[in-house]
């Protein structure tokens, strides 16, 4: 069994799975139950001057039969007295000395920061997470994402924290910014050893069409909130990867946050440079128990790859994340449909017809019918291979026209039966590897059909 223990810039944790600063880490009894279930660490619900919360607080984005694909909340930081939280943190750390306990903090003035850092560290907490991410309620008061969106302010507060803190400082960033590198670099300049991201995405989840009030509704009004859950995972992966590649920030420790629901999600964040991952929405949906599968799944995965420690996985995919201009223009894929598992729904065909390159044909049609359907290139031979699935009588396997297929993946993505449409590599049309940046370097970055003004600018306009 692979070693899952981590050292997060000095913070030791038995595994990389931490509860994010959120309702699942609101109180001592909760965090202790989570540790008993297997969580390696917890970032306590953000401390500060206690707030007053509203009812209701959450709304979710369902998609088809999937509940809570995304979750939106308008809850603020902790509404419990500071002393109560501190006392419980002390108890948790005393009873679980080997687990990672992080205090999340959000206050206003320098004196506030000095005071709360001292008090948080006096509980025995292993580290501090500065909440520069909350995009609702607190930012209007000049805190949370209001700081994360102002690199200079972020840098200054980071310096204060570094001055007062004895334990590692983690800067939690908001995704609600044009370029995540700016706050990330500011955190690095401020001297922080670690970054966690992303906090929630500013959002307005929907509208009650009978009352004309957005959701979640507080009486006859609502407000924008923070969006999280599986829907935001790609945004989080992108933003963290920006920083784990950035020469000015890649030396820092990263705690990945955003839609992590299972071991696979966690492994992806780790492969892109995370040392720990933080989870909220999946726990709010299914409870602390999900960590069993996360630990077991990650450990088995590492074993299957011959890795003895989770540290061997960290950053393995960073190198392959490159800019568009460095992608190989000669790489070529074609779609292939497996006649053994196709059920004959033709979803690939409609997606390709209307959303891609009109390269999937339904056999049995006449030439005229293919033309009428919208095909501009019709192969001479369109084999009629019956769909084998039970009950699919009279249906034929859709046919891929390799001449038109650009290998975009769309059919593979819409196919409801995993493994039925695969993308196979075929020889490229250029004959050798070539990137757009190669073409730029050689002055060949002009394609046929370019605008006159562009050709003129490049001195290529034939007189």
């Amino acid at each position: 069994m692979a070693d899952l223990s981590i050292d997060f810039c000095g913070i030791k944790s038995p595994n990389p799975f931490w509860l994010a600063s959120a309702p699942p880490a609101n109180s001592g009894p909760q965090v202790m139950r989570a540790f008993d279930a297997g969580w390696g660490g917890a970032v306590w619900k953000t401390l500060g001057d206690p707030v007053t919360n509203v009812t209701s607080r959450f709304w979710a984005n369902d998609y088809g039969n999937t509940r809570m694909m995304g979750l939106n909340n308008i809850e603020l930081i902790t509404d419990r007295p500071l002393e109560v939280n501190l006392k419980e943190m002390y108890e948790v750390k005393k009873r679980y000395p080997k687990h990672a306990l992080i205090a999340s903090l959000m206050v206003e003035t320098r004196e506030n920061w000095k005071e709360i850092i001292k008090k948080a560290e006096d509980t025995g907490a292993d580290g501090l997470e500065l909440n520069f991410g909350c995009p609702h309620g607190m930012c209007e008061r000049g805190m949370g994402s209001a700081v994360g969106q102002e690199p200079k302010v972020l840098e200054e507060i980071t310096r204060w924290a570094m001055e007062y803190a004895k334990t590692p400082v983690i800067i939690k960033l908001t995704p609600n910014t044009g370029d995540i590198n700016e706050p990330g670099e500011a955190a690095a300049r401020g001297g922080a050893p670690a970054i966690s991201l992303i906090n929630t995405v500013k959002s307005l989840l929907g509208v009650d069409l009978d009352r004309y009030v957005p959701n979640p509704r507080v009486g006859n009004k609502s407000t924008n909130g923070g969006y999280c859950g599986p829907a935001v995972k790609p945004i989080a992966l992108f933003m963290m990867s920006q920083l784990t590649k950035n020469p000015l920030t890649k030396h820092m420790a990263y705690s990945g946050i955003g839609g992590i629901s299972n071991w696979r999600d966690a492994a992806e964040f780790i492969a892109l440079g995370a040392t720990s991952v933080q989870v909220c929405t999946a726990v709010m949906h299914y409870g602390y128990r999900i960590v069993e599968d996360m630990i077991e799944g990650l450990s088995d995965y590492l074993d299957s790859k011959g890795m003895k420690s989770v540290n061997e996985l960290r950053g393995k995919a960073i190198g392959a994340y490159s800019e568009w201009g460095d992608l190989d223009l000669n790489y070529n894929l074609k779609a292939r449909i497996n006649p053994e598992s196709c059920i004959g729904c033709n979803l690939c065909q409609v997606a390709c017809m209307d959303g891609a390159h009109q390269c999937i044909l339904i056999p049995g049609r006449t030439h005229e019918e293919h033309v009428k359907a919208g095909h501009t290139h019709i192969p001479d031979v369109i084999p009629e291979v019956p769909v084998k699935a039970a009950g699919a009588i009279g249906r034929f396997l859709p046919v891929i026209d390799d001449v038109e297929c650009v290998g975009c993946n769309l059919c593979h993505l819409v196919c409801p039966v995993p493994g039925t449409i695969s993308m196979v590599e075929v020889p490229g049309t250029i004959g050798k590897s070539e990137t757009w940046n190669d073409r730029v370097a050689q002055g060949r970055d002009i394609n046929p059909g370019s605008m006159e003004s562009t050709l003129k600018k490049r001195g290529l306009l034939a007189k």
């Binding site: 299972n262 696979r264 299914y286 599968d293 077991e296 799944g297 088995d300 039966v417 995993p418 493994g419």
Partner: protein
């Protein structure tokens, strides 16, 4: 002892296709994602072995199939068999919350089959179980190589004990290898799983050995010898021979006990049914439904179940009867056989009488030609052999009496589980009883 026997080719069992074929990965993950991942889930409560079903299904959905197998095997060491043979319709799937919502319950059996088969194809069972403990030097005898003893032997082996199984037949496995309907599980599937379990530790299988009370002859071991040579004894005897009606002509060729006939279908290449045009099955339990269903699927033109009461009085599962009838099995209610007709010792037909309250009444007698009759009216119970263990008590049905908290019999060194205790239930019940017994055997041997 290894390797275990493999059943020969040419058996009728090999003609069957699976009623619930194995899922592909895509099918399994899609079905797993339909599971609500309930808390305090009714499916767990409905499982006699208490498998954490939502947990293993969640693991399938995340691609953690190995973890899913671990979760299953942790509670049910014969989880692969049970995945195929459990009547999930009346157990876990029958309790699924989707039923209450009018939606198709989760296909728990097929998901369990996917997790166990997929994993055990490439990984040893030992790699999925807690590490085997150091040898204790303690020896436990297990009598009868049915699912109760197999499960107990595996669990005892993991504890570092030596398990020695005595089986009177040549083919081990009991009803799990010789009695399960072939469209659910083949004999070789059961034997393969047995090999995995025996691989967990020090398990020895002695076939063609009968345990007897009193003086042991050739191919026999006495109960006294077991008590003397072993630290504990587990009785997983199963049930005995098919019961008889004791009617005229019952000894004719073509009249079978149902359990015996199923065993021949599964294990005996010599059995042929080519000249059987009509087969009658006497009885209304699950064995009766199984053999009727099997005969129909084997191509017998007319298969009828003859039952002495109405359909509501049948003890067989409603879903099994519905499935058998869908495939063409007929049901003759309120009928009893009164005589077997034979020519030159070969069955040619039966005399039937109308029945009220399960008893023959005058009027409505008829003669029906048939070439085969299967008697599924119960099985004998253990056994004169059990009397070889002083203090062991049989109840009025002939079942071994145990303390259900420990599965211990009236003899301090003897535990028991499975059909010989519960009167004839499922493989999953045998596993659970074996689990309880092993827990108590470990405690008892540790206390010495």
């Amino acid at each position: 002892m290894h390797p275990l026997p493999v059943l020969p080719d040419g058996r009728l069992e090999q003609r069957f296709s699976e009623s619930k074929p194995a899922y592909s990965t895509a099918e399994a993950v899609t079905e797993a994602n339909r599971c609500l991942y309930c808390v305090e889930a009714p499916c767990i409560k409905a499982c006699p072995t208490g498998i954490d079903i939502p947990n293993f299904i969640h693991k399938i959905s995340t691609g953690n199939t190995t973890g899913a197998a671990r979760t299953i095997l942790k509670e049910n060491i014969l989880g692969a068999s049970c995945a195929r043979v459990c009547p999930v319709e009346v157990l876990c799937a029958g309790a699924c919350v989707y039923n209450a919502w009018g939606r198709e319950p989760i296909a728990i059996g097929r998901l369990q089959r996917f997790a166990t088969e997929e994993t055990l194809e490439t990984k040893s069972m030992a790699s999925l179980m807690p590490a085997k403990k150091l040898p204790t030097g303690k020896k436990i005898a297990l009598v009868g190589a049915g699912p109760a003893s197999i499960a107990a032997a595996g669990l005892l082996a993991l504890e570092g004990h030596q398990a020695v199984i005595f089986e009177r037949k040549s083919i081990p496995g009991g009803l799990n290898s010789l009695g399960i309907a072939p469209y659910k599980q083949s004999g070789n599937q059961a034997l393969e799983e047995m090999g995995w379990v025996f691989g967990l530790g020090d398990v020895e299988l002695k076939t063609d050995v009968s345990v007897v009370a009193g003086q042991a002859g050739k191919g026999e071991v006495s109960t006294d010898a077991l008590l003397k040579d072993f630290d504990a004894v587990f009785l997983g005897l199963g049930l005995g021979a098919d019961s008889k009606l004791n009617l005229a002509g019952e000894g004719s060729a073509g009249v079978y006990g149902a359990v015996d006939l199923i065993e021949k279908i599964k294990a005996d290449p010599a059995l042929k049914l080519d000249n059987v045009r009509r087969a009658l099955v006497i009885g209304g339990g699950n064995t009766a439904i199984d053999i009727a269903h099997e005969l129909k699927l084997l191509g017998v033109a007319d298969v009828a179940m003859v039952y002495r009461r109405g359909v509501d009085g049948m003890s067989g599962y409603v879903h099994e009867l519905a499935s058998a009838r869908k495939h063409g099995v007929r049901l003759m209610e309120h009928r009893v056989v009164t005589e077997f007709l034979a020519e030159s010792g070969k069955l040619t037909g039966v005399k039937l009488s109308r029945a009220e309250n399960g008893k023959a009444v005058p009027g409505g007698e008829e003669t029906l030609s048939c070439e085969l009759v299967a008697l599924a009216i119960g099985q004998a119970t253990a056994t004169t052999m059990a009397k070889g263990f002083p203090g062991l008590v049989l109840d009025k049905h002939g079942n071994i009496t145990v303390d259900p908290k420990t599965q211990r019999t009236g003899h301090a060194k003897v535990w028991s589980g499975g059909d010989c205790v519960n009167g004839g239930k499922e493989v999953v019940n045998a596993v659970q009883e074996a689990k309880i017994a092993v827990r108590d055997i470990i405690r008892a041997l540790g206390a010495k």
